[in-house]
């Protein structure tokens, strides 16, 4: 009699997952599959679509505009992940205290993470308005630095939008690090104290190894966020000046919704999805290797 319910026990987790799975299937997996099919066609909107096989993928390989965008995206991802991660780690170390004033500062720091990107972008455009009396230019004028063109300068624009991403991601990463710090066994610090370890030794041998899972989450999320960045770019520079802030997603958007070349846009999107999946798998593998030691 007891064996019967056990027979169906495997179904219980699936039943709990079912609502989310159904929604995900309909809104994520089905569109992904449709996108895949679309990428093999020239979309006609009207009448039968034209089968082109892998032509769009071949075009992506030789598309120099896309290559430039991939380069910009890589720079965007690497700089924002490294700088955003390191700064967030420092902020988390400084704010791991439980004092009341720290909580106020934590809240203040967290505000960019919960504010709409469109609003942050508008703030950025105001702060970095390239007039001599712009906010950022007025500030650097205090140090006798001449006014800069910021997002209107092809050589600076990408770094200014990367700074926006860093500002936005620090609080998010900080919370992950704070959670990681709280999870480190206090006894390890006590033991290190007994051994006479100084602050740096404790950081290197206790804190950092204990934060590997937190670093892992931060890096993975930053990578994924960075590769599919769109709103931050589209609302600040629109990919300009001179295409120097063009990223993969803005290229996809322009190809799809401005040139209405849905087939090619779908192909590039699919490559981005495949790359993100690959990156995630790679990351998890590396993380597992490290945590084994």
């Amino acid at each position: 009699m007891q064996s019967k319910p056990r027979q169906w026990q495997w179904a219980v987790p699936w039943l709990f997952l079912a609502p989310a799975l159904i929604v995900f299937t309909w809104f994520k997996f089905v569109p992904i599959a449709k996108g895949m099919v679309m990428s093999l066609h020239n979309m006609k909107f009207f009448g039968p679509d034209e089968w082109v096989g892998l032509a769009h993928y071949e075009r992506a390989i030789s598309d120099s505009a896309l290559h430039a965008a991939v380069g910009n995206t890589l720079l965007y991802v690497i700089v924002s992940t490294v700088v955003g991660g390191v700064l967030a780690f420092c902020v988390a170390l400084a704010l791991q205290d439980q004092a009341r004033h720290v909580r106020i500062i934590r809240t203040a720091i967290f505000i960019p993470a919960v504010t709409s990107v469109a609003i942050l972008s508008e703030i950025w455009r105001i702060v970095f308005y390239p007039a001599a009396n712009g906010v950022a230019n007025s500030f650097i004028a205090l140090f006798y630095i001449p006014a800069q063109s910021w997002m209107a300068d092809p050589d600076q624009a990408l770094y200014v939008v990367i700074l926006l991403q860093i500002w936005k991601s620090i609080p998010y990463n900080m919370v992950i690090f704070l959670a990681g710090l709280a999870g480190i066994n206090r006894e390890l610090y006590d033991a290190a104290d007994v051994d006479g370890a100084n602050v740096w030794r404790k950081l290197w041998h206790v804190t950092l190894p204990g934060l590997i899972p937190a670093f892992s989450v931060v890096i993975m999320l930053s990578f994924i966020r960075g590769f599919r960045v769109f709103t931050e770019i589209y609302t600040t520079t629109g990919g300009g000046p001179a295409g120097r802030t063009e990223v993969i997603m803005t290229v996809i958007f322009k190809t799809g919704f401005e040139r209405l070349d849905y087939g090619y846009a779908a192909a590039v999107s699919f490559l981005l999805v495949a790359f993100t999946v690959l990156l995630t798998v790679l990351h998890i593998t590396i993380k597992n290797r490290i945590s084994r030691f």
């Binding site: 909107f45 209107a152 600040t236 990919g239 001179a242 295409g243 040139r259």
Partner: protein, 429 residues
């Protein structure tokens, strides 16, 4: 009595049979306008309804119009009529969603200016839409600033540049601070703004985007004339006489710059007359003809057009709505005559409507004069939009760097445009 009733019944039935019964239909219409234009459109629709008994289901969208249209096309949910920029015709034809209009059987077709009809020609020489409104670009200037500095209305490029310099350096608003600029330039690559803005200067310098070799085309950007036009545009930015951030600005950014008194020269269309007469104010703004370059004062001519979709099940009724829209009555209503609302008809396409008599305003008169004498349409390649975007990317690169090699960049753009013309099947061999 019985016979009397029967006779009445027969007479009634006879009368019913004699009068053709027209079922009231609903025409769905998508228009690239916003809520500012709704009062005018509601009035138009009410008048059409009272004349024909047919209803009109209006959908208005100023932003992402093409994207919504593409979605509707992909989902098989197109409206009966699309009213959009006439330049969208290439894209609509490429999508295969609009049907041919027979100009001969179009009621009132001979009342429409030929130059306007030309804007709806497909590459096969047939009409695929009906022009509903026309316009050309001119230049708004802060009259009070110009007069305060004792300068004349600029008539040449040199005078325009001098005005921009004076507006930037000579404190035209007299507040003692260097907080004003000359020329307001939307030259972002987004949606092709850089090309849209520079086209005037290129034509004024005597250049052209492509050469029409009789149905086929080849790019002609790498010429001394185009370089002159682009370099003149760049000189405002490099001298600091354009507003800051011009290089990433679209018209959404630039209109407030002029309206709020940060800069004093703005090239735009007649649709900005009403907003700019509101702010900074009618007394402070004047409309001038575009200052002439080496080859004249041509400026972009544009217009709107109505298209009937291939999916429409009531094309005759859809056409009757368009016939009403371009009739004298429809055009007058569309011009918001006697209303305090934004018009949907800028310059009338109907020969019977005297635009100036309806408008009675110097600014409108200037726009009408410019359209009549020096309006210049974009080249009639099958699909202009991708070329507009590609050239805008190139122009944006040139304008972003004061030391960039204009000739080399234009030569590269020629290659890109020719490749696109080839893709569209119209490259001259």
């Amino acid at each position: 009595m019985k016979y009397c009733k029967l006779g009445l019944a027969i007479a009634t039935a006879g009368a019913l049979l004699a009068t053709p019964v027209i079922a009231s239909e609903t025409v769905s219409v998508w228009m690239r306008y916003g809520e500012n234009e709704r009062p005018v459109l509601d009035k138009l629709v009410a008048e059409f309804n009272s004349q024909t008994g047919h209803e009109v289901d209006l959908f208005l969208a100023n932003t992402d119009f093409e994207t919504r249209l593409a979605r509707a096309a992909a989902g098989g949910n197109l409206p009966d009529i699309i009213v959009n920029d006439a330049t969208a015709i290439g894209q609509l034809l490429e999508m295969g969603v609009v049907r041919e209009i027979d100009r001969a059987s179009f009621v009132g077709g001979d009342e429409i200016f030929d130059v306007a009809w030309d804007s709806t020609l497909g590459p096969d020489g047939k009409h695929y839409g009906v022009p509903t409104s026309a316009q050309a670009f001119a230049v708004f200037v802060r009259k009070d600033w110009r007069e305060a500095l004792g300068l004349e209305k600029p008539q040449t490029w040199e005078e325009l540049f001098e005005l921009a310099r004076a507006f930037t350096e000579d404190d035209p608003d007299g507040n003692g601070e260097a907080d004003t600029y000359g020329y307001v330039m939307p030259v972002s690559a987004t949606r092709g703004y850089a090309t849209w803005f520079l086209s005037d200067l290129i034509w004024q310098a005597g250049g052209a985007f492509v050469s029409d070799d009789g149905g086929t085309f080849h790019a002609t950007l790498n010429t001394a004339e185009v370089a002159t036009g682009v370099e003149f545009g760049r000189s405002f930015i490099c001298a600091g006489y354009a507003q800051p951030a011009a290089i990433t600005a679209t018209t959404g950014d630039t209109t407030p710059v002029f309206a709020s008194g940060q800069a004093g020269i703005y090239r735009s269309g007649p649709y900005h007359i009403a907003p700019l007469y509101g702010e900074p104010g009618k007394d402070l703004v004047e409309v001038i003809l575009p200052p002439a370059g080496p080859a004249g004062r041509d400026s972009l001519g544009e217009g709107e057009a109505a298209f009937i979709t291939v999916t429409s099940e009531i094309p005759e009724i859809a056409q009757s709505f368009i016939e009403f829209l371009v009739s004298e009555k429809g055009q007058r209503l569309g011009m918001a005559e006697g209303m305090d609302s934004s018009p949907i008809v800028r310059l009338s396409v109907n020969k019977s409507v005297d635009t100036l008599a309806v408008r009675q305003d110097e600014g409108w008169a200037t726009f009408a004069e410019q359209f009549g004498e020096a309006g210049h349409y974009f080249p009639r390649v099958p699909n202009w939009k991708p070329i507009r975007q590609m050239t805008a990317d190139g122009f944006n690169r040139i304008l972003a760097d004061c030391d960039s090699d204009i000739g080399a960049e234009l030569a590269a753009m020629d290659g890109i445009v020719n490749a696109e013309l080839d893709r569209q099947g119209v490259l001259s061999k």
